[in-house]
Amino acid sequence: MPHLTSQPIALQPLLQADGHADGAVLLFTGTVREQNEGRPVNGMSYSAHEAMAEQVLGEICRQAETDFAISRCRIIHRLGELALGEISVAIAVHSPHRDQAYAASRWAIEELKRRVPIFKQEHYLDGDSRYLDGSTLDEAL
């Protein structure tokens, strides 16, 4: 299942459990807000280094599953033009217990923001656009 999509993110498949071993499901979604730092926003564009983003997102999911002893971590990130209120990212964690679900989900979204080569461009109501500053990759030279 690819981690990147140019289609609206379907949440139902993310919530669907594989069996009955898990007592907790935690779904995080990030959506496009109508303002950022006080400026009215009317949309967002996301682009990515797709091959690398797919790989890093896969690594984050596998590491979350291992380090937090959860059953499943899935991450889907949207690319392309998003309108207000559309979901840019969804992280679904299935876990036997809720403690690990919260910890894994929190970790995964921070890792995504820190490591995954995705780039956000905000479009403002006044017609202006701006790439948001982000997190410099560890290997930056």
């Binding site: 682009s47 280094h49 690398m52 990212v89 780039f119 790439y131 948001l132 560890d138 030279l141």
Partner: protein
């Protein structure tokens, strides 16, 4: 050597969509970025903030480049 450069995100308005064919007197990823900052002063805001990638991997500063390689230029990331 000859390289194909592929800028991402906010580097696109500075360097163009790419791939950008360059001939640069460099051997490593670190040297490539130094050379690039010399050629494109508008990259100044990204000094020490660009990572180089090849395929799905990041390159360290000392990673040797090969002729005709396609090198990704990756600015700070802002997904989520």
């Amino acid at each position: 050597m000859k390289l194909q450069l592929r800028p991402y995100g906010p580097l696109i308005p500075v360097l163009g969509e790419g791939p950008l064919a360059v001939e640069a007197p460099v051997h490593t990823a670190g040297e490539l970025l130094d050379w690039l900052h010399g050629q494109y002063p508008d990259l100044a805001p990204w000094r020490r903030r660009i990572a180089c990638g090849m395929g799905a991997s990041l390159l360290g500063a000392d990673a040797a480049l090969t002729d005709q390689a396609e090198i990704a230029l990756i600015p700070p990331v802002s997904g989520g």
